[in-house]
């Protein structure tokens, strides 16, 4: 911004110097023109005077026919000694001295008038020029002041250029103006992004500290009870078990937080590369297979009409993480000996992956909330299960970063109990 300002200033200083020089040139030219015009008209007056004197001289000589001939000679413009004698005569009487005759006085008066008029014209001309210069200088100054005030406004983080202020016409000034407008827009966008980021970080920190409080308080209470000596061995065992569970919860949360913070701070960039989505899904299934086995839950991949295997641009590691989260949820909230079925189909733009379980289901009012950070369902079954409320949030973030969506859906499975999560990933 500072550099920008300097460029602007020097440009205008250059412009005003140039303006100044042209002003001097114009004044000089005007001066010369008026001097020329004045001297030409003075010269004409002088010639006029001389001619008059010549006529008078001829008249002074004159007698009879001669004067007529002399007049004709004068009219014919003949050069000659005509009137020389008369002139001497007039001179001898002292009429030809300066100020000594009427015509001479007239000539002086005329010359004076011409000089005065020329001077006046010159003065008017200079005045007009100065006025023009002043006006344009003032306009420049105003424009500069306006630019200055805009820059000042920018410094106060206000990037709106008033619509009416936009500079009319093109030229250097117009260019500076539109550049300034662009700069303002860019800075406003940056500012907004910064603020959003700050808000995000703030709420993340608040959320985390809130989440940590509960298990830590639980742990503390357990340890305090354990410190009392009047506990039976059975009770002690029970509280130790409590402590262990709280610790496990903390551990799970720490793991989830690491993932979230990577996502949030942008340390992990989603790198989309064409890969077989089916393989990603299968590797996710392999990761949760043991947990499913424990509850005797079978995971079935239903074949769609399309041949299996879709090359889809996606980040294998993170999409796998998203699938794992969805599958783990399905296992966690399903009874034993149930089925988790997965369907996959390509539509015009999206690959649609449905993961259906036969678990506890999700009430409609919670559809939107379950994807929020640290939200956990209100039902008692949810409260009993381990979890930190970040899995689905992370899943939505990952899929969203791929330009897809993840929703939970009830219309796909009629009266059956359970939830269906629908992931849509863009095919290209």
């Amino acid at each position: 911004m500072v550099r920008f300002l300097n460029v602007g200033k020097s440009r205008f200083r250059g412009a005003s110097m140039k303006k100044y020089r042209t002003l001097i040139c114009l004044i000089t030219a005007g001066f010369i023109a008026i001097i020329l015009a004045g001297s030409v008209s003075i010269h004409m007056q002088v010639r006029n005077y001389k001619e008059k004197i010549q006529i008078l001289s001829v008249m002074a000589e004159g007698q009879g026919e001669d004067s007529l001939a002399a007049a004709i000679a004068l009219l014919k413009g003949a050069e000659g000694p005509a009137g020389e004698r008369g002139e001497k005569l007039l001179e001898s009487y002292g009429y030809l001295k300066p100020k000594a005759n009427w015509y001479s006085l007239g000539l002086r008066r005329d010359i004076l008038q011409i000089s005065l008029l020329s001077l006046l014209a010159f003065a008017l001309y200079v005045l007009a020029l100065l006025c023009l210069y002043r006006m344009s200088a003032r306009k420049r100054r105003q424009e500069l002041q306006e630019l200055g005030s805009i820059l000042e406004q920018f410094q106060n983080n206000d990037y709106t250029l008033k619509g009416g202020r936009s500079c009319p016409g093109g030229g250097e000034m117009g260019q500076v103006w539109s550049q300034l407008e662009l700069l303002g827009e860019r800075m406003a966008v940056g500012q907004r992004r910064l603020e959003a980021e700050k808000e995000g970080t703030k709420s993340l920190v608040t959320d985390i500290s809130h989440q940590l409080k509960t298990p830590v308080a639980g742990l503390k209470a357990c340890f305090e009870i354990l410190a009392q000596e009047d506990l039976s061995p059975k009770e002690q065992e029970e509280f130790r078990e409590q402590c262990r569970r709280q610790l496990e919860g903390l551990d799970a949360m720490a793991g989830a937080l690491v993932n979230i913070s990577r996502m949030e701070t942008g340390m992990i960039q989603i790198k989309k590369e064409p890969a077989d989505i089916l393989e990603t899904l299968i590797s996710a299934i392999n990761r949760v297979y043991l947990k499913a086995e424990e509850k005797q839950i079978s995971i079935e991949l239903e074949e769609g009409e399309e041949p299996p295997g879709f090359l889809i641009p996606h980040d294998v590691k993170w999409v796998c993480e998203a699938f794992i989260n969805l599958l783990e949820n399905a296992i966690k909230y399903s009874g034993s000996q149930t089925v988790i079925s997965i369907r996959m189909a390509a539509y015009i733009h999206f690959l649609r992956i449905e993961i259906s379980d036969q678990g506890i289901g999700i009430p409609k009012e919670e559809y939107h909330k379950i994807f929020k950070r640290f939200y956990r369902g209100a039902g008692t079954e949810v409260g009993q299960a381990e979890g930190s409320g970040v899995g689905l949030y992370l899943t939505r973030e990952i899929i969203g970063n791929h330009g897809g969506t993840v929703t939970v859906n009830s219309r796909c499975h009629g009266n059956r109990r359970g939830s269906t999560f629908v992931v849509q990933l863009p095919l290209s």
């Binding site: 539509y347 733009h349 649609r352 559809y367 909330k369 994807f371 330009g403």
Partner: protein
């Protein structure tokens, strides 16, 4: 972030006395730049009336609506029409495409009618984002419902309005096409930083929004 649309004590009543229907009751809504908001409600809950008020298509009984810090109902009628054309994009259930001109013309026509120069590169990018690049010479009636709605979305996006109001954009589509169209609407509005307010009766569809407002008997409540 900047608030782009705001209402204050917005009310719309129809009829008088005992027959009075309170379609919208003192709604106070604030929608921020770039937000994707869904307004969910059953039919007859007043959600369409609310959307019409937000878009300046209907006058309220009382209350105010600001779009980009301008009180839209303080404007004269012609002034409001121009403001609406420049700042509010609509996507309707019935697509409302011009049947006699092709897809490309449908998308750039409104910009031309407004006396502006269409940004061809931007329009092409939108069309590509919405996957319609092979259909730009088709007439609307040769397209499927989902495709027509995508053209309508492209048309709304191309004029870069301050806000897009979508009234049941998936109302005429089957559920899987609905998911696709809404996902595209979400993805494209995210890509271009477009603010969208979508009205729907379908809670499944509403899930993809950043924020859900629900409306019941004319009252607007923030959900979750």
């Amino acid at each position: 972030m900047e608030t782009i649309l705001k209402t204050e004590n917005l009310c719309k009543y129809y009829g008088k006395g005992e027959n009075e229907v309170r379609a919208v009751r003192s709604a106070d809504i604030a929608i921020k730049q770039g937000e994707f908001t869904a307004i969910v409600g059953k039919s007859g809950s007043g959600k369409s009336t609310l959307l019409h008020l937000l878009g300046g298509l209907d006058y309220p009984t009382s209350g105010k609506v600001w779009v980009k810090d301008k009180d839209i109902f303080s404007m004269k009628e012609e002034e409001l029409a121009v403001f609406r054309r420049r700042n509010i994009g609509f996507v309707f259930q019935a697509f409302n495409l011009v049947s006699s001109v092709n897809v490309w013309e449908n998308i750039v026509l409104p910009i031309g009618l407004d006396g502006r120069e269409a940004d061809v590169g931007f329009a092409e990018d939108i069309i590509k984002t919405l996957g319609m690049e092979h259909k730009i010479h088709n007439l609307p009636n040769t397209l499927s419902g989902g495709q027509q709605q995508r053209v309508a979305i492209a048309r709304a996006l191309a004029s870069r309005p301050a806000i897009i109001l979508a009234d049941e954009p998936t109302g005429n589509l089957d559920s899987k096409t609905s998911d696709e169209v809404v996902t595209l609407l979400k993805a494209s509005s995210q890509k271009y930083g477009q603010t969208v307010v979508m009205i729907t009766h379908d809670e499944d569809i509403a899930q993809i929004a950043d924020r859900i407002l629900s409306i019941e008997d004319g009252r607007v409540v923030e959900q979750g």
